[in-house]
Every structure is written in structure tokens, then in C-alpha cells.
């Protein structure tokens, strides 16, 4: 067994190739933002009926995944699992990067992004949005301190644990805030559910770990570093557990709504006759994003096949995007019942299911958010000592992993 030595990643051809691709996505996103800001949101698919669209799906996905990406760090320093400690730095860096990517998308989709300073200086403390501004910026600060505490020499383990616990509690608050953006919307039958906050926490665990594993596997492949099979399998099984928890919350969310007569309409819409939303729910969220990864992650040959882990993690990410699409867009597509008992129609689409056709500009902005997160992570690993040279099982935690 060697000592754990953290080293910057060395730039090689794949490294520069990756940065070039990410750079292209960033440029495309910047062009998209300028185009939308110049012409107005008329060039997007968003309307006065579907006011939040694909950019919000990406932004919320990244923000939710950000807090989940911190899991590995928390498991290492708060819950004392030695095997997770060597990858804790990457976990912290990825958490910050994903949050920055998500916030960038959210902010650049504003009608007046030039007025961001107002959002930073004027707070309406009754607004969960305003609280989120504080929770998000605070998260960046707390995780930065956490990362510093992990990287600096001579930091006492008690102090590290305290900082780690603070970061863990902060991430729970952050995801509660993000879930409450929808949970506290009493107006729309698709939202207005207290379960949104804990469900978002479960989603963050799942999406964040999936992205973390993809980044780990990608980086180790790119830099030729070892990623121990036992460590990888252990993290993959944990991901499987998280996927199951997300499915459980989704089941409780819909079953509780089905029990309430006034929510029967929106449930029928999502579960049975909502067209694209029903197809996305069963095909995307439940089967491809839930049951298939679950089967893969608990496959008996998971340890011998890296491709199973990669496929499962990719499916979890795609399933997560689909789940958020159903929540964000599906929740708005179903008409609000302003006149219960009446069939309504108007020039403003009262009583009608709203249609939404996102334009490529919205996808470019969303992809830009992912590209920004990955660029920050990649550059972070280039300039900081984030990843150990060797993550083989023998090196990471021989005793701990043997017990599995």
C-alpha cells in the first residue's frame, strides 16, 4: 500500500480535446443567451402558459445534483467511511462546479439578467427564491472552506468533521429550498405538496452520485489513474439504493395525490392520458431512469463490467432530467382550475392543456450549464491537488473494503 498522494492532472491530448469540446458548448451557450436577450423570449418555446422551460429543467437538475455530489465527501468525513475519503476533494469541487453551472443557466434565462444585482441586494424574505439566493451562495462558501480544510496541512480532524457536518446540513437545507420552489406553489395542482422537499433531497443523492461516478470514471480513464473495482462497485450499489429511494418518493407523491379528489385530474394527466408527459413518466422516469438502472446496479456481475456502471449512471442522469421535465413543464401544462365545475375556454388558453415546443436555443443554454460545470471541475483538477494518484482498492481502504 502506498501513501495517498494527491496530484494535479497532467494535460494530455484527451484533456485538451475535452476542454475544446466544452469550450465549444460554452461559446454556443453564450451566443444563445445573447440572441435570446436581444430578441426577447419570443425566440424560445416558452410562453405565458409554460413560463419555465428547458433552461429551468437543466438549471434545477444541476442545482439538485450539486448538493448530491457532496455526498461522497460527507460519507467520508461526517460518517467516517475511510474508503470515501480519497475522493472527497473531487466531491466538493464537483458540488461547487455543478451549482455554478446551474445558477448560470438560471440567471442567464432571466428576462433581465442585467438586473442580477437587484436580486443580490434586495431580499423579500417571504420568497423561497430569495432564501435560495442566500442558500446557494452560502453553499459555495461553506464547501470552499470544507475543501480548503481537506487540502490544507495541519487541520485537526475534529475541525474537519465540524466543517463537514456544517456542509452536510447546509446541503440538506439547500435542496429543501429547491424542492420548496414547487412544494410551496399552492396555485397549481401539480405542485403544492410537502413531499417535494424530501423528494428533491432523494433526487439529489441519486443524480449527484451518478454524475460523480461518471466524472470519476472519465477522469481516471483520461489520466490513466486506477479506480478500484471494489470502491467503484460499492459506490454503484449505493447509487442503486438512491435510485430505489427516488422511485419510492415518486410513488408516494403520486399515490397521495391520487387519494385527493381535487388532484385526480392532474394525476390522470401525468399517469394515464397526458400524451408526451405520460410517455416520459413511464418510459423515461420509471423504466429507463429507475427500473433499468436498478437492475444494472444490482446485477451480480456489476464488479466485472465497468460499462454496466457507466450505462446505469448515464440512465440515472437522463431519467433525472426527464423527471424534472415532468415536474417543471408537465406541472404547468395541466390547466389550472380557476372555475371548479365549469368547462372553461378563452383567448388565454384557460381550461386547455398548454403545448410547449422548446427551441434549440434553450437546449444550448442548458448544455452550456453542464459544460460550465465540467470545465470548472476539469480546470480545478488541473490546478489543484484534487485526485489521488492511485485509487486502487488496496490503496484506498483495504480493511474497510474487505468487509464488504
Amino acid at each position: 500500500m502506498e501513501r495517498i498522494i494527491y496530484r494535479e492532472i497532467k494535460p494530455n491530448t484527451p484533456f485538451w480535446g475535452l476542454l475544446a469540446i466544452l469550450g465549444a458548448f460554452l461559446l454556443a451557450a453564450a451566443a444563445s443567451v445573447l440572441y435570446i436577450e436581444h430578441h426577447g423570449h419570443i425566440v424560445t418555446g416558452m410562453t405565458n402558459q409554460i413560463v419555465w422551460g428547458v433552461p429551468h429543467v437543466f438549471a434545477i437538475f444541476l442545482i439538485v445534483a450539486a448538493s448530491g455530489a457532496l455526498n461522497v465527501s460527507s460519507i467520508g468525513s461526517v460518517f467516517g467511511k475511510t474508503a470515501y475519503k480519497p475522493t472527497a476533494r473531487l466531491s466538493g469541487l464537483l458540488a461547487m462546479s455543478l451549482l455554478m453551472g446551474g445558477l448560470a443557466v438560471l440567471v442567464l434565462d432571466l428576462g433581465r439578467p442585467d438586473r442580477l444585482i437587484i436580486a443580490m441586494t434586495t431580499y423579500n424574505f417571504k420568497s423561497i427564491f430569495a432564501w435560495n439566493v442566500l442558500l446557494y451562495t452560502g453553499f459555495l462558501g461553506v464547501v470552499a472552506i470544507y475543501l480548503y480544510a481537506q487540502m490544507a496541512r495541519g487541520i485537526h480532524s475534529h475541525l474537519l468533521k465540524t466543517v463537514g457536518l456544517t456542509a452536510f446540513l447546509w446541503r440538506l437545507a439547500l435542496t429543501t429550498g429547491t424542492g420548496s420552489i414547487f412544494g410551496w406553489l399552492v396555485a397549481r395542482p401539480g405542485y403544492d405538496a410537502a413531499i417535494m422537499a424530501p423528494m428533491f433531497i432523494a433526487m439529489s443523492f441519486s443524480f449527484g452520485l451518478a454524475i460523480f461516478m461518471l466524472v470519476m470514471i472519465g477522469t481516471c480513464t483520461m489520466t490513466g489513474r486506477k479506480y478500484g473495482v471494489k470502491l467503484r462497485t460499492r459506490q454503484a450499489r449505493l447509487l442503486g439504493l438512491f435510485v430505489a429511494v427516488v422511485l419510492y418518493f415518486a410513488a408516494v407523491q403520486h399515490l397521495s395525490n391520487l387519494y385527493v379528489a381535487e388532484h385526480a385530474g392532474v394525476e390522470r394527466f401525468i399517469l394515464f392520458d397526458g400524451g408526451i408527459y405520460t410517455a416520459l413518466f413511464w418510459g423515461g422516469q420509471v423504466i429507463l431512469g429507475g427500473l433499468v438502472p436498478l437492475a444494472l446496479l444490482f446485477h451480480p456481475k456489476l464488479d466485472t463490467k465497468k460499462s454496466l456502471v457507466v450505462l446505469a449512471a448515464i440512465l440515472v442522469v437522463l431519467g433525472g432530467l426527464v423527471q424534472l421535465y415532468i415536474i417543471v413543464v408537465g406541472g404547468q401544462a395541466y390547466p389550472m382550475e380557476i372555475f371548479p365545475g365549469y368547462q372553461a375556454s378563452s383567448s388565454f388558453f384557460d381550461g386547455a392543456v398548454s403545448t410547449y415546443t422548446p427551441t434549440y436555443l434553450e437546449f444550448l443554454l442548458g448544455f452550456g450549464g453542464i459544460a460550465l460545470a465540467l470545465t470548472i471541475t476539469t480546470l480545478g483538477m488541473k490546478f489543484l491537488r484534487i485526485l489521488p494518484n492511485n485509487l486502487s482498492d488496496a490503496n484506498v481502504d483495504p480493511k474497510g473494503l474487505e468487509e464488504d
Binding site: 436577450e37 430578441h39 426577447g40 423570449h41 419570443i42 410562453t47 405565458n48 402558459q49 413560463v51 419555465w52 432571466l110 428576462g111 433581465r112 439578467p113 438586473r115 442580477l116 437587484i118 436580486a119 434586495t122 431580499y123 423579500n124 417571504k126 420568497s127 423561497i128 427564491f129 430569495a130 439566493v133 420552489i181 410551496w184 406553489l185 399552492v186 396555485a187 397549481r188 404547468q332 389550472m336 380557476i338 372555475f339 365545475g341 365549469y342 368547462q343 372553461a344 375556454s345 378563452s346 383567448s347 388565454f348 388558453f349 384557460d350
Partner: protein, 251 residues
């Protein structure tokens, strides 16, 4: 920041000589003690944003003609929003909703606009407090503070708000609008402050339907308060307990 309330935030010391002369005989200066004076201004300014008032509308659905959209036309003309051929993104401050009772088959029609709630969800969720309520109950958007996040549109149970999706032309000086911000019915605050009634109410009366009544809900002697006290009326989405300033009768 509060556009319509600017008149009231002017402190006596900030008054221009012209303002002082304009207020003329309505100006009264009371000396409370040596060096301490109380100045009161009459005229137009005192008529606006009176915290003692609660402006509201009462819409009689039985009197509202299904085919008539005069209230919508009048609002559009008064405030400068219009049909640009993009129905899904065009602003609509007021709309006519056609309704059919699913149990009885009764067909009716009613205008829906910002309901000027006492506990407005749009105000609760607005991160920058751009959505605000005047002391007289009129809910407005401060176009200088709105960042265009559209959370208020997600939160409004009445679909009363519109986001400006494209460049605007020919704006009305009394109803400033801006691309990238959210807007809704102002209850014709500029008319109300000048002692008038909203354009929709005026148009409805002109047609002879008289389905819309405007007035001070707090004044028991007002026509609207008397009507509300005499006949049954409902608030839309009453289950949410938002206490809107707009009420409907015969619904």
C-alpha cells in the same frame, strides 16, 4: 421604486417651487411648535394610495354578454398592450373566459384579470419585492425591480400575469412596460389616482351591460360595498383564502 406612489414619497423639503405654487390654496401650514411645522397638501396627490381604501371590482356574471369583449378592447387601448399575432406569448391583462357548467349545461362568460389579492402569492414569491401592493390594495409590478424570473406567474392562481416576450412599440406614458419583465392589470391606477374608474368598467357601462362595478370595498356607503352586502358573491379560488379585491356575483 414604487412608480405610482412617487407622488407621496416626496418630502416637503424636496418640493420644487413649481409644486408649491401649483398646490396653491390647498396648501396649509400648521405651526405645531416653534420651528416645527406640519404641511398638508390637497388636490390630486391626497386622492391616491389612501391606506383607508381598498379598491375592488364586482362582476355580475349574469349581465356579462358572452360575445362582448369591450372591456378587453378598452384595457388594451388604455394600457397599450395588443395582439401581435402570437397568442401564446402576447400579454393579456384582461380576458373573457367562456364557461359551461358541467353539471347543468348553463353557459356564462366573465372577464378575468389580476384579482388584487390581499394576500397575493405573487408578492410572497417575488425575490426582489418587485411585486407589491399599494396601501389601497392595488397590486402592481415595479418594472425597475423586476428581474423577469416569472416565479410570480408560476404562483398566481388566476393566470393573471404576462411576460413581455419581445420588443414593444407605442407605449403609453401612464403604463410603462418593458421587454423581459412581468406585468398585469393595474386596475388603471393612473385613472383611479385621478379620481376616475378603470377603463374596463367604463367600457362595460358604455355598452349598457353594466356588468362591472368599481369602488372602495372599505366604504360601507359605496355602491360596490352595498351590492356586496346585499347579494351573494364569490371570490375565485376562495379555497386559497387570498381575499381578492375582485368578486363575482351570479357565478
Amino acid at each position: 421604486m414604487n412608480l405610482p406612489a412617487l407622488k407621496f414619497s416626496k418630502k416637503p423639503g424636496e418640493m420644487s417651487r413649481r409644486d408649491l405654487l401649483k398646490s396653491g390654496g390647498a396648501l396649509a401650514t400648521v405651526t405645531l411648535a416653534p420651528g416645527v411645522t406640519l404641511m398638508a397638501f390637497g388636490g390630486e396627490a391626497t386622492a391616491a394610495a389612501d391606506p383607508g381604501k381598498r379598491w375592488g371590482l364586482l362582476i355580475d356574471v349574469n349581465k356579462c354578454d358572452k360575445g362582448c369583449t369591450e372591456c378587453v378592447t378598452a384595457c388594451s387601448k388604455e394600457n397599450g398592450w395588443k395582439d401581435t399575432g402570437h397568442p401564446e406569448t402576447d400579454a393579456q391583462w384582461i380576458r373573457k373566459v367562456d364557461l359551461k357548467d358541467m353539471a347543468t349545461g348553463r353557459e356564462i362568460s366573465a372577464p378575468v384579470m389580476c384579482q388584487h389579492c390581499e394576500d397575493a402569492p405573487c408578492i410572497d414569491v417575488c425575490p426582489t419585492s418587485a411585486s407589491f401592493k399599494r396601501p389601497d390594495g392595488i397590486v402592481l409590478v415595479d418594472k425597475h425591480a423586476c428581474i423577469g424570473c416569472r416565479y410570480c406567474m408560476m404562483a398566481c392562481p388566476y393566470k393573471a400575469r404576462s411576460f413581455i416576450h419581445e420588443d414593444l412599440e407605442d407605449q403609453k406614458a401612464h403604463a410603462p412596460r418593458g421587454k423581459g419583465t412581468v406585468e398585469s392589470c393595474t386596475l388603471c391606477v393612473h385613472r383611479v389616482d385621478a379620481g376616475g374608474t378603470p377603463a374596463c368598467v367604463e367600457a362595460c357601462n358604455t355598452t349598457g351591460h353594466g356588468a362591472m362595478m368599481f369602488g372602495d370595498l372599505n366604504d360601507p356607503e359605496s355602491e360596490i360595498a352595498k351590492a356586496l352586502a346585499s347579494y351573494p358573491s364569490v371570490a375565485l379560488r376562495d379555497d386559497l383564502r387570498l381575499n381578492p379585491g375582485v368578486r363575482y356575483s351570479n357565478l
